[in-house]
């Protein structure tokens, strides 16, 4: 089922039963808006949910392309062939990606590479649009994507294989990408154990076989998750280990004057250890340690990076008079070491970030009050950081239930407050020495956090078409209807960018750029969404508008002004499910360095089907990017704006088998 609304989802789940509207739909619980489990319709902050099953059908093993399915989310491929997301005009550095409400490693700036997160073991993804720094701290400025992993309680075993081809863009016509998944859950002596593994073997693709350079890299990814969980009375203990490795290679250039070639290489290995202890709806302590080792860059200039993240996140829910409170204390540490390799084993490398670290202690409290059918929330977060001292943020939220009939539900959500992003270790301590070519880029340890003031208003309706148009006593529950209109505004300041250091440039005769708190940005926009559900068909249409400018009223580049997403899900006979979804973006503005516009809009049409043959066997097939809309490499190389992504038509077919 392919509505991103859990509300609609729950309706679909029950539509085979009594279809009368009074048969109230079951609601999915969400945690991201309040850090406590809450029915989705009661969350004072609007949360979208995409289920693990949905993810499996729209993804190819990682979150990279799957999030493109979610309304209002813009996915972008970065220069390291990774994927980030934009929300409400904020780029990937300002959208926080969490795994079970805790942060992940960000190999590039502050943005997590979505191609390094597998869809294995995912229960659901919760998407919070807008600022949430009070609950989640740094980077939660444009939104939060919270990946919630599954808490398995039943024994099960499943294997899945999917093959795919990039059709006419395949580097070799016989190239086939393989996706292998194994997922086993077993209760042993009271412990719920889980082992899941995934391997992605992707040959990459190339638009033009007559050029040396390759469009997308060949990749070899492996994911292994191990978990153990047990309940001791009302205390839940969970231990998790995640391993990830990723090797990429992509031909890029001929070596001038030599016979060899230069390739982009990336070799990543990541270990994650989680320890979670909790008492349901009362308290929890989550510990996480992440070690990320990476060698990447062009083959003639590789860099080694060692990134470490350690965090203890404790939370307590309590009552103070009529107010329900959730409070937390977080200890966080980041470490970074980066060196540019020497030209040979005999030549020492150049240290670019020299074993730097950052520690922070963060505390937050959010209180919520029920007032009739309405709910109000207020929260504050204080962070004491080893780099820049004390910083704080506060926010107010309100949920006004205008009509409390669950089958004709009108709600108004208001929110306003502060958010921030702390400077990364790279922004503070980077030394990028290209002085032989006349320039250097240097970090700045005097940076302050970026900050934003933002607000949003959302009006939503959940009910049916008949009820909306006044037929209050109709027994006709279908088509079910959900509407949502959201407007948002944010003023951000002290955004970190590189600027020329005049004094240092004059002294050295080089162009010295340094990270500084300089930029202001203004984001305003609107998201509109419509969902319709019949007995066998679900349809969703969404539109997002964005007006993003800098302090000089110039449009920000790399962001679509208009985005339309539409998806249709059809339940066919023989337990066949068909899905079609469309993404259309237009109105992106060129950057100051781009010389013109090749194409400023793009359309992606994606179709897939799946069928449950029986309890064990299931198959799926589909085509992504049906019309093979993709970037023109020549135009891009000429400095022209081409908003079409670096993507390829892709045909896929898969099968899965459930052992038990």
């Amino acid at each position: 089922m392919f509505n991103t609304s859990a509300y609609a989802q729950s309706l679909v789940d029950h539509k085979n039963g009594d279809s009368h509207v009074d048969n109230a739909p079951l609601e999915r619980m969400v945690v991201t808006g309040t850090r406590s489990e809450l029915a989705q319709s009661r969350s004072p902050v609007s949360i979208d949910v995409i289920s693990g099953a949905q993810l499996q059908q729209v993804s190819h093993g990682t979150l990279a392309s799957a999030l493109n399915f979610i309304p209002g989310v813009v996915t972008k491929r970065n220069e390291k062939d990774g994927y980030t997301v934009q929300m409400q005009g904020f780029d990937g550095d300002h959208v926080l990606v969490l795994l079970d409400s805790q942060p992940l490693i960000s190999p590039t700036g502050s943005s997590v590479d979505l191609d390094q997160i597998s869809v294995l073991n995912i229960e659901r993804i919760e998407v919070l649009r807008g600022a949430a720094s009070v609950l989640y701290g740094s980077s939660a400025m444009g939104g939060v994507i919270n990946v919630i992993t599954r808490k398995q309680s039943q024994n099960s075993g499943k294997f899945r294989y999917q093959a795919s081809s990039y059709t006419q863009n395949a580097i070799d016509s016989s190239d086939v990408a393989g996706l292998y998944q194994l997922d086993i859950n077993q209760n042993i002596m009271g412990w719920q154990g889980s082992v899941s593994a995934q391997k992605i073997d992707d040959p990459g693709f190339d638009y033009d076989e007559n050029t040396l350079s390759q469009s997308a890299p060949s990749t070899d990814k492996s994911f292994v998750n191990l978990g153990l969980a047990k309940d001791f009375s009302d205390i839940h203990l969970a231990l998790k280990t995640r391993y990830f490795s990723d090797e990429k290679i992509k031909l890029r250039y001929a070596i001038p004057g030599q016979a060899g070639d230069i390739s982009y290489l990336s070799d990543v290995e990541q270990w994650q250890y989680d320890v979670n202890v909790s008492k349901s709806q009362v308290w929890k302590v989550n510990g996480r340690y992440l070690q990320h080792d990476e060698t990447s860059g062009d083959s003639n200039g590789l860099r080694d990076a060692e990134i470490t993240l350690a965090e203890i996140d404790s939370q307590y829910q309590w009552q103070l008079g009529s107010a329900a409170l959730v409070s937390g204390l977080i200890l966080h540490r980041d470490e970074l070491y980066q060196i540019k390799q020497g030209s040979s084993p005999d030549v020492s490398g150049t240290i670019e970030v020299d074993n730097q670290s950052r520690d922070s202690v963060e505390g937050y409290t959010q209180a919520s009050w029920l007032y009739g059918d309405h709910e109000f929330g207020a929260g504050v977060r204080v962070q004491n950081d080893s780099d820049f001292g004390v910083h704080s943020a506060a926010r107010l939220n309100g949920l006004f239930t205008l009509n409390n009939d669950k089958n004709d539900l009108w709600q108004l959500r208001l929110g306003a407050g502060q958010s921030y992003r702390v400077p990364t270790l790279k922004e503070r301590f980077y030394v990028f020495d290209h002085s032989n070519l006349g320039y250097m880029v240097l970090g700045n340890d005097e940076l302050d956090p970026e900050t934003a003031l933002s607000g949003n208003v959302e009006l939503s309706y959940h009910g049916s078409v008949a009820r909306l148009f006044g037929a209050n006593n109709t027994p006709n529950a279908y088509p079910r209807l959900s509407l949502r209109a959201n407007i948002h505004y944010a003023k951000a300041q002290d955004f970190i960018n590189t600027v020329t250091d005049v004094e240092a440039s004059a002294q050295t005769g080089l162009l010295i750029s340094r990270y500084e708190n300089v930029d202001q940005t203004y984001m305003k926009g609107a998201d509109l969404s419509l969902k319709l559900s019949w007995q066998k068909v679900d349809y969703q249409l969404s539109y997002s508008y964005l007006h993003a400018t800098d302090g000089d009223d110039n449009y920000l580049a790399d962001r679509p002004t208009h985005q339309i997403k539409s998806n249709l899900n059809w339940q066919l006979p023989f337990d066949i499910n068909a899905l079609a979804y469309v993404v259309y973006e237009t109105g992106e503005h060129p950057s100051s360095t781009q010389l013109g516009i090749e194409k400023d809009d793009w359309l992606s049409v994606n179709v897939s089907v799946n069928q449950h043959i029986n309890d064990q066997w299931q198959w799926n097939a589909g085509i992504d990017n049906l019309f093979d809309e993709h970037q023109d490499s020549d135009a891009f190389a000429q400095g022209l704006l081409d908003v079409r992504p670096l993507s390829s038509q892709r045909v896929f077919v898969g099968v899965s088998y459930q052992f038990y």
Binding site: R252, Y253, A254, I255, P256, G257, Q258, A259, G260, D261, I262, D298, S299, N300, G301, G342, S343, S344, V347, S348, T350, D433, H434, S435, N436, L437, T500, V502, S505, A506, Q507, G509, L511, A637
Partner: protein
């Protein structure tokens, strides 16, 4: 004559064949093998020679006559006349030793790598390699050697130096060039000055008058103020003269001065030399047309301010490479052919690559051969 550094394959094969035949007979050839002079084919590429990294650069000194790189420290190289050409990352240096003052001349081979507007023709650069550009190289012969005065060596130049006066070679009269302005960035202020008058006294100056306008950025000035006159009497100097424009006076060396003129006190000749320098921590530029009413400090590095003495490299006038033509931050040779005139001979030279076979930058490969004048 260039000493060979590659042994010809034919010679090796010949020697091997001889050895084979001798072993097949029982006789022992007691006569020594005729010494073989290795033959180097014209256009043979040598290298790569590593010039280190940006952080730890190495200067490679090359002796074209000997056909080999010399291991020299910077101090040794300054006193050494054997090397002819040196490489350090993107820079190419020529020896300026008095006994081997090397000059370069750039032929117009591959001038079509640039269009009429002077822009690089990207495909020409990307499609060229050592093989494809060999014929252009081989085509250069002794007949292409220009007159000696066409060769340019490396030199040092003062940013101001003697540029403030005109010398009439007929009348031998020195006059102030009051159309030429200089802007000095010193002590948090920009000072624009020109020499409006000077009094010469033989080989020295007895007085010099400046027109001075100041833009004090610390005080919030956003443009130069009105010009005022400053006259310094240098007739009776006993030490070098240090002038501070802000105070409008000559100070001592330990003060915060802006420009200096050396004082000559030899025999009965006393006065300032016709040569102006700026402080070590200052930079300056020549404003020939009085174009700048203000300096935008945010963009100061783009005006072309330089330190007192700059090294003018002959190769910089005709760079051998283009940078970042296909987005890869790579240096692509134009495969231009340079004529290098040493104290003993004239060579042609073509830089074929800045990389080794793994793509490591700073590794020079080039071909060179001696030209015989015809």
């Amino acid at each position: 004559m260039k000493i060979s550094y590659l042994v010809s394959l034919s010679t090796v094969l010949l020697l091997t064949a001889c050895g084979g035949s001798s072993s097949s007979s029982d006789s022992v050839d007691a006569s020594p093998t005729e010494p073989t002079t290795p033959v180097v084919e014209e256009g043979t590429v040598v290298g790569p020679f590593s010039t280190g990294t940006t952080a730890e650069p190495i200067r490679v000194y090359f002796d074209l006559d000997a056909g080999e790189a010399l291991l020299l420290t910077a101090e040794e190289a300054a006193q050494n006349s054997a090397w002819d050409i040196a490489f350090q990352r993107t820079k190419v240096y020529l020896n300026t030793h008095s006994e081997n003052s090397v000059g370069a001349f750039f032929t117009d081979v591959n001038s079509d790598f640039y269009d009429d507007a002077g822009a690089a023709v990207v495909d020409s650069f990307l499609n060229a390699d050592a093989d494809s550009e060999l014929d252009d190289y081989l085509a250069i012969s002794g007949t292409d050697i220009p007159a000696d005065d066409s060769f340019v060596g490396d030199s040092e130049e003062s940013v101001i130096g003697p540029k403030f006066y005109d010398y009439d070679t007929t009348t031998h009269v020195v006059t102030a060039n009051d159309d030429r302005y200089f802007i000095v960035d010193s002590d948090d202020a920009y000072t624009k000055f020109r020499v409006t008058d000077l009094t010469s006294d033989g080989r020295t100056m007895s007085s010099i008058t400046f027109g001075v306008a100041t833009q004090n950025t610390l005080a919030g000035d956003i443009e130069f103020g009105a010009e005022s006159a400053l006259t310094i009497n240098t007739a009776d100097c006993t030490d070098d003269i240090y002038i501070d424009f802000d105070l409008g006076a000559a100070l001592s060396a330990s003060d915060a001065w802006d420009i200096t003129l050396a004082c000559t006190t030899v025999d009965d000749i006393t006065g300032a030399e016709f040569d102006i320098h700026i402080a070590e921590d200052a930079t300056a530029l020549v404003d020939d047309s009085n174009a700048y009413a203000a300096i935008d400090s945010e963009a100061a590095q783009f005006y072309g301010f330089t330190s007192d003495v700059t090294q003018e490299l002959a190769f910089d006038a005709n760079p051998w490479y283009q940078y970042n033509l296909n987005g890869g931050h790579l240096l692509w040779s134009q495969y231009g052919v340079y004529l290098i005139k040493t104290s003993d001979a004239t060579f042609k030279m073509q830089i074929t690559s800045y990389y080794d076979d793994a793509g490591t930058s700073g590794n020079y490969s080039f071909r060179f051969d001696e030209l015989i004048s015809e």
